[in-house]
Amino acid sequence: MAEEQDKFCEYLSGVNPVWCPGCGYYGILSALVEAFAELRLPTEQLALVSGIGCSSRLPYFVKAYGFHSIHGRALPIAQGVKTANPELTVVAVGGDGDGLAIGGGHFPHVARNNVDMTYIMFNNAIYGMTKGQFSPTTELFASTKTSPFGLTGEALNPCALAIVYGASFVARGFSVKKEHLKDLIEQAIRHPGFSFVEILTSCSSFNTLDMNVARILHAMDYVPDGHDVSDPIAALKLAGHDEKIHLGVLRKSPRPTLQEKFTEIQEKARRGKSATVASLARQFA
């Protein structure tokens, strides 16, 4: 126990989280570092990349190489990190606004390129950092600061998006179900290729309705045992919220990672011969 605690602490930077009391993110942070500890990942091999938002502050609190970047750009940055150094364990974290609003254009492409990394989206259905405007996943809490008379759009479903984008691992967790969440994160990191984990979590300051703990505890269910993760249509069905909100691994579709593709490309390009800059210059002679 004490040893577990120690292992856990090894992954904390010592910087105290700035989150509000009661914020669901505390639970996520601890599930995350426990997963790191379980996987015995060397801290120096861990690259945590985030955008901007309360959730994106997470890297400061973890002992790892951390990149707190700009709003919505965690994914392309993470893709660059992994491309440059495939040895690293790359994890991108961020909010629903960061990932589905301003950063929503990058998600399909990093997924379809199967960058071998894990993307963890903290879905609190609100913009926490900017104090309570609706996000693309806001559904129940209709009268946010920028929608005082109701929302205009239907909410997006992050897991359904990830599936259609071709993410090769898609799972949904809940900040309150810490053990389950830890396990999902471990699986996601272990999975070779692009892994997506949506975490339902409540913003205690600005939206306690959408991801209300009691409500979700009531509405949730685990992915049924017989679910075929290789079937995208089955995964899409489970991803929907219609009856129950399903927690667990929804989809797996293993295929070559971006890194493997790069290796293949380099081999094809070389055709067994080695090249130098001087040899390349010869085409201009």
């Binding site: 930077s13 910087v15 060397p42 801290t43 120096e44 091999q45 861990l46 690259a47 990349v49 901007i52 890297p59 400061y60 002992k63 790892a64 190489y65 951390g66 990149f67 707190h68 970047s69 700009i70 750009r73 392309p76 940055i77 993470a78 893709q79 660059g80 990190v81 992994k82 491309t83 440059a84 150094n85 040895e87 690293l88 254009g105 990058h106 399909p108 492409h109 390129n113 790069f262 490309i265 380099q266 094809k268 390009a269 070389r270 080695s274 090249a275 130098t276 800059v277 001087a278 390349l280 210059a281 201009f284 002679a285």
Partner: protein, 584 residues
Amino acid sequence: MHDFTLRVAGESGEGVITIAETIARIAAREGLQLVTFRTFPAEIKGGACMMQVRLSDRKISYHGEKVDCLVVLNQFALEDNVADLNPNGVLLCEAECDAPEGTFAVHKIPFERIAVREIGSRISKNIVVLGVLAHLLGIPRKSVEDFLAEKFAKKSKAILDHNMLALGKGIHFAEEHVAKREGFGFPKGSHQRQLLMTGNEAIALGAAGAGLQCFFGYPITPASEIMEWLAAHLPKLGGKVMQTEDEISAICAVAGASWAGAKAMTSTSGPGVSLMSEALGLLSMAEIPAVIVDSQRGGPSTGLPTKTEQSDLLLALYGSHGDAPRVVLAPTSVADCLTLIGRAFYLSETYQMPVIVLVDQALSARVETVDPALLDHLPQAARLKAENGDGGFARYRLNGSISPTALPGVPGCEHMVTGMEHDEFGNFACDDATHTAMTVKRFQKLAEIGTDPKMRDSCLAFGDEKAEIGIVTWGSTAGPVEEAVRIAAETGFSVRALVPRLLNPLPHAELERFFRQVKRVIVPELNFTGQLASVLRSVYRVPTIGLAKVKGVPMDPSEIVAKIAEAAAGLASTRSAEHGRRAG
């Protein structure tokens, strides 16, 4: 003849570019110096196009205003181009053309008929033209044959034979109908093979030579060829090239790759740089090296995608919110593209900040000779790095402007980089003292680059060192300016030109010395608002004489010469007024 200029004009798809490029390649092999220029039709396919090749036995920097030999493949091309033919030049035109009266020699040649009737394929027309040119310009038949043999080495023997036949027919026709002229044609080459490439190719090759490992980009005219060349060749060196979903993704992936330790780069044009504005600020703030190439085109907005312009300077200097320092370089020729892309990697890696390289459509696309020795001088820069640590790594150490970094993977140096204002450890800090100290640190780098011994050659200079009329210009306009200075000197105007290749920080010592000496400063540049001129006025408070044009093509030396004459007249009248006053 030391110098010879050829232009080929016609419809896009007719082989215009092939003809001119072949001549250029053969000349480069002979060791001649070359500058070329071509236009790009704005149409998706088809449209008028032309390519001009200037050859010389000395270093040249401009493609020539007047041409010695003009080849036109149709009447439109003739009408569009004939005004640029030297009075004692030679016009080769398709037989049906209506050639105007003139002092130049005219040869109407049934290129198409020869191709169709004697070789049996219209597309051989360009090789027929080549044959005629080989004869007229005195290019050894063997040089052309060798070149064709190499070019078609991988094709079937039948194709090569076909082309050799076309070449023979062209030469034969010319021998019978086209009188050769004494001293007209190819100058004598040095026989030191030159490389021949476009500005975009020079950038791509230079980047590979400087150690580029990861390239991310999004296609855009006129920069796409940089990415395309790299996609085809960088993987051979173990590099990675990736087309991203947009320019924001490209620059962000560059940021990520660079943070992880790779030499990383992107290339784009103005619209892409605009989109990268926010991420460029992140690179400044987080102190991450990155090389960004902007091949400028006509603006604003989508503007004139196939036309040249130098109107992104102020964006390159100031295009991010907040005080966000970046380095700006501007190559002046194709060879300089190769050299300065190397310098861009040196500066970005050394000073841990973004470096923007400004070229333009004309420079990106023009083919020019490059001395192969330049490849050996590309710097292999390395970042100041900590190799291990024991926790509490101060990524932003306030001890000089350059703090050692540690690449992800190094044990004991785990740390944060961030786009927020931060203390030495990368933790968010928003007090006055920290913000001020860190801002000073970030800007201190510019001051240090200004005195970096590796950047001593940041200016080109031409003309008379004692001249009173000065010109400051940048980028590809250096070529026309060099030519104008030469022409002006011949006409009796003494002019000095200075061309900073480093635009941020400006080479203060050289510029200040220059401004102390000259009495008038003309600033030719291809934009409307006089962007460099405005910066010079701001920094040095010198009065400038603008020569700012948005014409879509490089400036004509004659426009610059005219401005020089005007300035000289102004200077003379001031002087006589002063003289009058003193006498009075």
